[in-house]
Amino acid sequence: MTHTISLTVNGKAHCSVVEPRLLLVHYLRDILGLTGTNIGCDTSQCGSCTVHMDGEAVKACTVLAVQADGASIKTIEGMAANGSLHPLQEAFREEHGLQCGYCTPGMIMAADALLRRNHKPSEAQIRQGLEGNMCRCTGYQNIVKAVQNAALKMA
């Protein structure tokens, strides 16, 4: 049994025939070839797979592709407008908020959703807001600084 889904990903319309059990993250990575969204776990803990679905941050490993039917999805590949880095991407580079880069796409998507909810988050609010995203490399400190920096840039 298969389903036909229509959705937009990073502003581009797609229509695909998928198995009902296919996860959104596998749809994005394996079918659309958007491998910027990473997979770090199988229990919805790490946040590496975070994307936006209709403007909300979701863990794409916890959403079925069929649930995204009709939705608008944004992934890390959709963050840089016309080739220039998004202020969050710039801030992560300036503050050294990434090392191996594996958690980074999910972290940036989660941070972007956070900043849209709260333009001027405190350190504590950033730390709490990113709790669902794991990083083993940075110890989070420079990620927090990057989000603070981006908040200023985006103000």
Partner: protein, 777 residues
């Protein structure tokens, strides 16, 4: 050209990661790709009676199912070890076990299918009949008489016994002590959990008999040697191993893993590309774990706090098989470091490396050195408490004085440099230790459980020379190589055998080469992680890339400069000894006449036209250098943590964390600080959260990210950092290594702070609210 070494050049690699364009192994898509999954044992110890793959093979899309017997018959060898101590008994380890499973997660069969979903479906259709056996999971119990044997040929499950130090001096030291503190300590088992799970892709190219393997490795060159000589047995020149972008390693991606054998073997068998991506739950039961020591220690003190002796007995859990560097960790890297930063005459250590029905144990960030630091730093605090002395003063009293470097410890290592009193004073000043103490005593008067903890710790890194390292057990040399290819237009590719999986070598190695050659960082591209492009290499582990790999770059650059200088001399019609290479701008000229200089571009271009070279000089400009370290470096640190324990819940709040580290000279302060920060939080994770726990059936209870707690963004306050610098004398850059220092120091700092808050001698990690609350009752 201003010097770049010592400045925080922004990372060259960042844009691709920030845009989601990292080249992680799992991202690779090849035409005709197939997908592999591994059927794993649900039992900790059992005999395989029968494997029936009929139903799996009948599933549409399944291309094949292979067992351990198939691999053996197909020519695969057992996985070798890269370290052997005297009389070590190394059990056979097959990529898929043919007859008997020895830990939950041991691979018994592999299925390859048209999609990863079908491969997973097929796993459930493979029927395996087991006869379960008695089992053992505890390192010490495994060595007791009558314990179930993990490998029948290895008596008492003892793979090796190893001693270090002077037994008599230790006994004398303890005898002269005013008090002797005795303590049992458990160093918890850790799951490495790099956020990128392991993965492997292989592509067999039949017409050329060529195999290409992409794998999440920290060291592709040694992996190729092992694959070629021991496991897969494809000649090395027909085998290309690529470790593309790798999402963190922390030691766990050093080792040669079974899937690196299975995946290429199947690819050749079915003549199609094969991909395997580890799931996180699978990673918990297959990635080599870390630590897992049971230790009984005695430390003697004089009345004034002088340490007189240290005696250590440790049972180190090695798991069901010896992982690649298993026996290195609890021997030389652990016992070799139990002198810490202190002058202790009488030290003796004895370790049993035992086999159990658990996942193999090997290096995890710090590897042996955190276990040593935890032991020493906890013992000092217990001693200070008994002596009613400030633990800070006890440390101060026992430090090796700066005037005694290089300092030969009574155990193993010769520390290159350091100033331990200075680093301690610096951290005390930065933290305002006096004020901290005053505020603590006010808080305590108000009934609040505020604790201050210290740790001072050393790391041993960049070890060598190869002759010494191989004489104590290594199967590989500890050198590194670098090659500089200078193109006719003066642009440069730097090929290094080191591998970056977060460390930022594409930036720091380019900085080194830029300064050595007097050109811009942007004119240099760093290539690493590909045996098909990089000449030779050892790889990245033990915080060795800067010291060893970086020095190889310095040496290769010197050769380039030398050739350029000779070319300039020839073209300027000057004697070679009169011409200097100016590293500030990449030119060469006759001493005193910089106005008539040959530029980097001109000299590079003339190696291409080859019409104005000195007689006998070969055209082209490509220089390779190998560096074998002459000694080792001893990064060191002093950390102070302040915590408060909530007596109602047992929860620990980290209020301040102040860290001063001496990692020698620094290539890129931003990157070094980043590694230290990440390391610190990793170590705090062990102190408070992380623990791989087995039940009596050998099931891993904390076997997913849901059950195994890891540091998250809300764990720490902003860490306050400082640094002291004693340049390493053993390498021209003066660098010591920074990747593990934070982890080594932070675990004991936090544990000591919590014990200070609770005013008790000792609790084992992880210091969970439950454990603390119990202790408070």
């Amino acid at each position: 050209m201003a010097k770049t070494v010592g400045t925080s050049v922004k990372r060259v690699e960042d844009p691709r990661f920030l845009r989601g364009q990292g080249t992680y192994t799992a991202n690779l898509q090849l035409p005709g790709m197939t997908h592999l999954a591994v059927k794993r044992s649900p039992h900790a110890h059992a005999i395989i009676k029968r494997i029936d793959a009929t139903r799996a093979l009948a599933l549409p899309g399944v291309l094949g199912v292979f067992t351990g017997k198939d691999l053996i018959e197909g020519g695969c060898g057992t996985l070798p070890v890269g370290w052997s101590v005297p009389n070590q008994k190394t059990p056979d380890r097959h990529a898929l076990t043919p007859d008997r499973v020895r830990h939950v997660g041991d691979g018994v069969a592999a299925v390859v299918a048209e999609s990863s979903y079908i491969a997973r479906d097929a796993l459930d259709l493979i029927e395996v009949e087991y006869e379960t056996l008695p089992l053992v999971t505890d390192a010490r119990k495994a060595a007791e008489p009558g314990a179930p044997l993990v490998h029948p040929a290895i008596a008492n499950n003892i793979s090796y016994e190893w001693e270090l130090g002077d037994k008599q001096a230790c006994a004398d030291g303890l005898a002269e002590a005013h008090i002797v503190v005795e303590q049992e300590l458990i160093n918890t088992r850790l799951v490495p959990n790099a956020i990128e799970p392991r993965a492997c892709v292989a592509q067999w190219n039949a017409p050329d008999d060529q195999m290409t393997i992409w794998t999440t490795s920290q060291n592709p060159h040694p992996i190729r040697v092992l694959l070629s000589a021991f496991t897969l047995k494809i000649p090395e020149h027909k085998l290309r191993v690529i470790a593309p972008d790798v999402g963190g390693g922390f030691g766990s991606k050093i080792f040669h893993y079974p899937e690196e054998v299975i995946v290429p073997w199947v690819s050749r068998k079915i003549n199609r590309p094969v991909k395997w991506v580890c799931t996180r739950s699978e990673a918990f039961i297959t990635d080599s774990h870390g630590r897992d020591h049971v230790t009984v220690a005695k430390m003697g003190f004089k009345r004034d706090g002088t340490i007189t002796g240290l005696q250590v007995t440790t049972w180190a859990n090695q798991g069901a098989y010896l992982s690649t560097f298993a026996s290195l960790i609890p021997t030389i890297l652990y016992l070799g470091c139990i002198s810490g930063m202190y002058k202790v005459k009488g030290i003796f250590g004895h370790v049993f490396g035992t086999l159990t029905n658990t996942v193999p144990v090997d290096a995890v960030r710090g590897a042996g050195r955190p276990e040593a630091a935890y032991l020493v730093e906890r013992m000092i605090d217990i001693g200070a408490r008994r002596l009613k002395k400030d633990p800070w003063e006890v440390r101060h009293k026992n430090f090796i004085p700066a005037s005694e470097f290089p300092y030969q410890t009574p155990v193993a290592f010769n520390y290159d440099s350091g100033d331990y009193h200075a680093i301690c004073d610096k951290v005390a000043t930065l933290a305002d230790l006096k004020g901290m103490r005053e505020r603590q005593s006010e808080a305590r008067k108000a009934g609040r459980l505020v604790g201050i903890g210290f740790s001072t710790a050393i790391e041993i890194s960049g070890y060598g020379p190869s002759k010494v390292v191989t004489s104590i057990g290594s199967a590989l040399g500890m050198w590194e190589s670098a090659a500089l290819r200078v193109y006719p237009t003066g642009k440069v590719t730097l090929f290094t055998g080191s591998h970056s999986h977060g460390q930022g070598h594409e930036t720091t190695f380019a900085q080194i080469a830029a300064d050595e050659l007097g050109i811009a960082v942007s004119d240099i591209e760093v290539v690493h992680g590909d045996t098909g492009r990089v000449q030779q290499g050892v790889g990245t582990f033990g915080s060795r890339s800067g010291t060893v790999g970086g020095t190889a770059v310095v040496k290769a650059a010197a050769k380039v400069r030398e050739k350029m200088r000779r070319i300039a001399a020839h073209q300027l019609e000057a004697a070679e000894e009169d011409v200097v290479f100016d590293q500030s701008n990449g030119t060469a000229y006759v001493k005193g006449s910089p106005d008539k200089a040959k530029t980097f571009f001109e000299m590079a271009f003339s190696t291409f036209t080859a019409n104005q070279l000195p007689a006998g000089m070969e055209p082209g400009l490509e220089e390779t250098a190998f560096f074998d370290p002459t000694g080792l470096t001893a990064p060191n640190s002093a950390h102070i943590a302040q915590v408060e324990v909530d007596p109602a819940t047992g929860e620990v709040e980290i209020q301040r964390y102040v860290a001063v580290d001496d990692v020698g000279n620094i290539i890129n302060p931003m990157i070094v600080e980043g590694q230290l920060l990440g390391g610190i939080v990793h170590g705090v994770g062990q102190a408070l959260l992380e623990c791989a726990r087995y039940d009596s059936n050998g099931q891993l209870l904390s076997g997913s990210m849901m059950d195994y707690a890891m540091p998250r963004s809300n764990l720490m306050p902003m860490i306050e950092m400082g640094r002291t610098v004693t340049p390493a004398p053993s390498n021209p850059l003066g660098v010591k290594g920074a990747g593990e220092m934070g982890t080594i120091a932070s675990t004991p700092a936090i544990c000591n702070a919590v014990m200070d808050a609770l005013q008790i001698d000792h609790l084992d990690m992880p210091l969970t609210p439950e454990r603390i609350w119990q202790a408070l009752q």
